[in-house]
């Protein structure tokens, strides 16, 4: 009961609007093979496979993990498919970690992917039901009013979102996998970009990407045999709340706050701002950075925007956030959460190349989904818990 688990292999695909050079199996294998190579393992060494992705209408295939099973080396093995909306990538990592921590499996491969170019993501998000009016235009249309609520409650300067976008887009230039790269991106450029769902501008919005991310979680025994530096899982947390009910705070959801509290308690962290060296946080629209800084307890309520303003979340700040360029730069929806977990582990393992932060011992991975109601987070470190 309660074994330890560590990340011993990580693989990502190049993210792009349309990965027309590969099929779905090809996309997933690109990430999985990279993770296996990173861990110096073969398919035969894997005991179980977890697949995570978001709504199947994004590809127009029902339960695609079924036809993908053998291409992911899962024939004859247990395979699970997780779906917790946008947080699914995070949940996928947590389920894979749990399979190891249960003591039942030694090495578990998880793959999260989306090949949304094969269908139409905006359509899949806005499938209309009879008797209703389709008023909410996709995810942006859903979150824009909440962001307006945050702006009102916090009194944050109106250009806070622009600053986050510039930072993340500059970071993306240092990430070989990132989809959206705008060399020389400036504040004025982001501000001048078209307003999509007021107050969210085009360059403050995540792209629609194809991509896959794979991670290998291993037991203590299996980790001892692996060549690279492991990222030990110190804690995982999942919390959910209903989409809408009277009096629900969607700007700083209780599920998010409880998730953070549970995570830090399990990891023995009392001062997250000081004890965590960097974080990969799920920010699909720029304003979510200050909002999640507050929910995750890095800043007091209403003060998250100051972290952005002070440069605390920049690559050279005291709590770098989204060193990879984040969801704003690459967004294969089902994979985005796992990419956060992967990039956090890469920082601990010293694998992040140009966007590596110096001296990272402990990193946070965060994913959220649905109407800001599903939260999956974890903490990894360079030492055993």
């Amino acid at each position: 009961m309660g074994e330890r688990s560590a990340v011993i292999g990580i693989g990502q695909t190049k993210y792009d609007a349309k990965r027309i050079d590969v099929s779905m199996p090809g996309l997933c294998r690109e990430a999985a093979l990279a993770a296996l190579a990173d861990a110096d393992l073969t398919w035969a060494d894997i005991d179980a496979v977890v697949v995570g992705k978001a709504p199947d209408m994004f590809e127009g295939v029902m339960m695609p993990e079924m036809f993908l099973a053998d291409s992911l080396g899962a024939a004859g093995k247990p395979l699970l498919r997780v779906h917790t909306a946008g947080s699914v990538g995070g949940s996928t990592g947590i389920v894979a970690s749990s399979l190891v921590e249960s003591g039942v499996f030694e090495r578990v491969l998880c793959v999260a992917f989306e090949k949304q170019s094969e269908s139409n993501a905006m359509w899949a998000l806005t499938v209309s039901t009879p008797f209703s009016v389709a008023v909410i235009a996709g995810a942006g249309g859903y979150f824009a009013p909440l962001i307006r609520g945050y702006m009102r409650r916090s009194g944050a300067p109106e250009d806070t979102g622009i600053r986050v976008a510039v930072k993340d887009r500059q970071n993306a230039l240092k990430n070989p996998y990132a989809h959206v790269k705008i060399p020389g991106v400036t504040f004025d450029q982001v501000m001048a970009s078209p307003m999509l769902w007021d107050p969210i501008r085009y360059l403050e919005t995540c792209p629609s990407s194809d991509g896959a991310c794979a991670m290998i979680f291993a037991s203590e025994r299996a980790t001892a045999k692996s060549p690279g530096k492991p990222a030990w899982v110190h804690a995982t947390a999942m919390r959910s709340e209903p989409t809408m009910f009277s009096g629900r705070d969607q700007v700083n959801p209780l599920a998010g706050r409880m998730n953070a509290k549970d995570l830090y308690a399990k990891a023995g962290i009392t001062n997250p701002r000081k004890e965590i060296d960097c974080a990969e946080i799920y920010v699909p629209f720029s304003w979510f950075e200050p909002m999640w800084m507050e929910t995750m307890g890095f800043a007091e309520e209403g003060q998250g925007w100051k972290m952005t303003y002070e440069g605390a979340t920049a690559l050279d700040g005291d709590l770098p956030v989204n060193m990879s360029g984040g969801v704003l730069s690459s967004n294969p929806i089902g994979a985005s959460g796992l990419i956060r977990f992967a990039e956090a582990a890469m920082q601990v393992r010293g694998q992040a190349g140009e966007h590596q932060v110096d001296g990272v011992h402990k990193a946070l991975g965060h994913a959220y989904g649905g109407g800001s109601q599903y939260f999956s987070t974890y903490i990894v470190a360079d030492h055993k818990p």
Binding site: M1, G2, E3, S23, A54, P55, D56, M57, F58, G60, V61, M62, M63, P64, M66, F67, A69, D70, A74, A75, G76, K77, P78, L79, L80, R81, V82, H83, T84, A85, S91, I94, V95, S98, L99, E101, S102, G103, V104, E118, A124, L125, V127, T129, A237, M238, R239, S240, E241, P242, T243, F245, P253, L254, A255, M258, N259, G370, G371, Q373
Partner: protein, 349 residues
Amino acid sequence: MRDVAIVSFAQSAKAREQRNEIEILMPVVREAVKASGLPRTEIDFTCSGSSDYLQGQSFAFVGALDAVGAWPPIKESHVEMDGAWALYEAWIKIQTGDVDSALVYSFGKSSPGDIAEVLALQLDPYTMTPLWPDAHSLAALQARAFLEATGKSERELAAVAARSRRSAIGNPHAVVSGEFEVEKLLAEPYVVSPLRAHDLPPVTDGASALVMVAGDRARTLCKRPVWIRGIDHRIEPQSLGARELVRSASTEIAGAKAGVHKGKIDLAELHAPYSHQELILRAALGLGESVKVNPSGGALASHPLMAAGLVRIGEAAQRLMNREGDRAVAHATQGPCLQQNLVCVLEGD
């Protein structure tokens, strides 16, 4: 390994519901929670199984949170799989020590769409789906291969159907039940040969839920808790040409790993949506004639897709709770032609 027991189970099934998924699910969850003896807030983890495509909407499972009591916020997860796999994820979570109890639920309405056609989307989108092979046709391919390989006949398939419908008499959740003569069944036309209507799963809308608890606490909540002595699941390649259709290799592996043969089996609930599949599964699990198979009537009597596998586990557990036996096997399947299978060995306290 921690000992985990099922302490309560509830289900609902009907051919065509006028209620929506949330309205169907809510009373089932309430019944399972109430029967568990635990207050909702003391069930540590919630895990569910369902499929967006059955409802024709993305994120369809999200609305289900309204039915299960997610306030204050809960530890919760979801699989896009039959509820039996949600039970597996919850069992794993309990093994990690992070939680000590779990509510597992699943639901699905097959009636809104043409379910056999919807399932054609569950195939390789590049080479199979464009041909639109519906689920019944694929099962018929397997049935034909099975009959020719084993020398069994359509009569034996009809016998499975007749026995299932007879067993289902008195099951309030059965959509099809009654006394049917094998001759009369065989006189019916093929739907897709060699399968007739009685060989196919009935379209069903339904939901199921159960509560599991770790350790001795289970005994304080339930007169006869049912322990999960072994649980395993395996998947095969999907392509029909890439595996043996007439035996279920993944069920054989899962059954061995779950320890089916470590003791005498009194009853088995096998998730066989098609009659010939029951015979394949019996062979895969090595179940002899003395084992009572599908006392509930099985999937041929009631098949709420996405919940049916969890129902097999719940039905088997319920019967052990009622002392209709001491040791049982429950099985769940998904994917075309028994592609993926879960086997669970249960023992009454």
